[in-house]
């Protein structure tokens, strides 16, 4: 069973071919990074996987299940969580609330029970909070636990976004430019976390990234994308030296 597979994935926006016949595979417990110049279609692929967009052609298969037509809100329940390039956090809620929302896919309680706040609901709430606290510990977010997201600095927001995705207990984690906007120390922290996410938690990571140092530190395999098409695939070193990749980044 292949863990995750994209087959001939394509999407067109009007006349623009944002993603053209992209096929790749992700093996379980590996860290696969997609690199490419801006506008190559990397985030579009993520949006296709989390079903924000529907592909014009192609298939997405996750653990032998065809997820190409699954409604967007079912994706988290299947075990796929993501972060967003530009922080799609819930601004007017606390960090804790954001993390608890990450757990929404694991909700077991119903509307009526919640309105009456039956003991089962209380127990479920405690369990959710326990898992959320565990992630707060993992990501060192204790200071910001009850702070409104709106008032937090950018670096912390990125971490909260990561925490929210982890709260969903995914088996496949999509990270969209996790280090963009972070300084060197914060990027190093991110590298350690990604490493731990894979090794200690057994989560497969599919990542879009520009920072080549980070890519080299954590990735098992790299795919290079340009103009919506895959131009190279292999280890980080091989791909970085690949002539097509050099051409795409430097031109000429």
């Amino acid at each position: 069973m292949t863990f995750f597979r994209a087959e001939d994935l394509s999407i067109r926006f009007g006349g623009i071919r944002a993603v053209e016949r992209v096929s790749f595979e992700t093996r379980e417990r590996e860290v696969l990074t997609i690199i490419g110049p801006n506008g190559a279609g990397k985030t579009t692929i993520f949006n296709l996987i989390s079903r924000i967009y529907a592909p014009s052609e192609g298939r997405l298969v996750f653990r032998d299940q065809d997820i190409t037509r699954v409604p967007p809100h079912r994706i988290a329940g299947l075990g796929i969580a993501r972060t967003f390039q530009n922080n799609e956090l819930f601004e007017h809620a606390t960090v804790l609330a954001n993390l608890l929302l990450g757990r929404h896919a694991h909700r077991t309680t119903g509307l009526l029970g919640e309105m009456l706040f039956l003991p089962g609901v209380r127990r479920a709430e405690r369990a959710h909070r326990e898992r959320a606290e565990e992630i707060i510990d993992f990501l060192d977010l204790q200071r910001h636990r009850d702070a409104m997201v709106r008032s937090l600095p950018f670096g912390v927001r990125k971490v909260v976004e990561l925490g929210r995705a982890l709260a969903a207990e995914p088996t496949l984690l999509l990270l969209d430019e996790p280090s963009s906007g972070l300084n060197v120390e914060e990027t190093d922290d991110m590298a350690f976390w990604i490493h731990d996410i894979r090794s200690l938690r057994g989560i497969t990571v599919l990542m879009v990234e520009h920072d080549m140092r980070l890519v080299g530190q954590v990735s098992d395999r790299v795919i290079a994308l340009n103009d919506g098409q895959i131009i190279a695939e292999g280890t980080p070193q091989d791909v970085q030296r690949h002539p097509e990749v050099v051409k795409a980044y430097l031109g000429g």
Partner: protein, 359 residues
């Protein structure tokens, strides 16, 4: 500032954050229970109105404040509850059952209105709710066989067995008080569980909400349904208070009044609903009192109440957008931090127009 050291998950879940809060709410509760002996019949009646508007406010707050779905047509749910209660009582249904039915029917109307909402957001949704309210008002006026059209219906007095709940009496007041407390508890429970968080997610970022597994259609529908049901119960009580209902009691003006109520009260907290309800009832009284001290030329003007109403709304939006509850929190913080309170604590960063056209 009181710092609460948390050692237990239940501390986050509790209704009252700390012992002091329990004390204050107990005092409030005692005051409300003893009210019939402290205030005259007129003010008792007004307090009952505050409870009624408070119920509707809680409903609207859940929908607009927490789920972010702006509703300009809440009068329609009010009317649905009021008419259901009146018609069922007139046909001999027992009283407590009619209340439940009023809530459920209004909830159904809410779900019906919420269905188009699934694809709409922001101003489109507000306008759709506005249109629905107009249509409901017209239906009430035209469906004469059932609603007696513009001639209206008289509302029978509620009874349980031999006990009659005279709308201006003590028992009715206690009933309304119990209802608003129960609905408030229901709302608080909803907000500290996954559904309430899902509401906030729908409001703040639909795309992220979906990625976390929140079914937008379901939660928007639930928000409309629950909000409408609460407002429907309020409408049933309202019918009893007015003793006579007609479509003219449920116009756009009422919808706007409800909306102003939650906004002035403080959008985004249930306290705001209650403060807003108090504001709506107290304002005409205050104007009445002020009239005695104003020259006859101003006091005699028919538009005075509207004018003050409009000015208060504008004033709050300009100077205190967080509403009455927001101002109360700031005052609380001032005293708690004294003398270290800084006036810029709540100042927001200047922001350029962040478009809401793309969601």
């Amino acid at each position: 500032m009181r710092v609460i050291f948390k050692t237990d998950y239940d501390q986050d879940l509790r209704l009252f954050r700390h012992g002091g809060a329990v004390l204050w709410y107990a005092v409030l509760g005692a005051a409300l229970l003893l009210a019939p002996w402290a205030v005259g019949e007129y003010w008792l009646s007004q307090l009952a109105f505050v409870c009624v508007y408070g119920m509707a406010g809680i409903g609207l707050m859940l929908l607009s404040g927490y789920a972010g779905q702006i509703s300009l047509g809440h009068a329609a749910f009010f009317a649905a509850g009021a008419y259901t209660e009146t018609l069922l009582l007139t046909h001999g249904w027992p009283f407590p059952l009619t209340l439940l039915a009023a809530g459920l029917l209004a909830g159904a109307v809410g779900v019906a209105i919420g269905l188009p909402a699934l694809r709409l957001s922001g101003i489109y949704l507000a306008i759709a709710t506005l249109a629905f309210a107009f249509i409901v008002e017209e239906i009430l006026a035209r469906w004469e066989s059932v609603t007696n059209g513009n001639n209206g219906l008289s509302v029978p007095v509620a009874r349980i067995g031999p006990i009659a709940f005279d709308p201006s009496g003590r028992l009715f007041y206690y009933l309304a008080l119990a209802a608003v407390v129960l609905l408030m508890l229901g709302a608080i429970n909803l907000l500290r569980s996954p559904t309430g968080r899902a509401f906030v997610a729908v409001r703040d970022s639909e795309i992220a909400a979906q990625s976390m597994g929140v079914n937008l259609a379901w939660y928007k529908t639930v928000a409309f349904g629950v909000s409408a049901a609460f407002t429907g119960v309020a409408g049933a009580f309202y019918a009893h208070k007015l003793q006579f209902i007609s479509p003219e009691a449920f116009t756009l003006v009422l919808s706007i009044e409800l909306l102003v109520m939650v906004v002035v009260g403080g959008l985004g907290s249930l306290h705001g609903a209650i403060y807003g309800a108090a504001f709506i009832i107290v304002l005409p009284e205050a104007i009445g009192v002020a009239k005695d001290h104003l020259p006859a030329s101003i006091a005699g003007q028919p538009g005075l109440k509207s004018l003050v109403f409009g000015l208060v709304v504008i004033g709050f939006m300009l100077f205190e957008p967080l509403g009455i509850y927001g101002r109360w929190r700031k005052i609380q913080l001032y005293f708690q931090l004294f003398p270290l309170y800084r006036r810029a604590t709540f100042r927001r960063q200047r922001s350029y127009l962040r478009t809401e056209r793309l969601r």
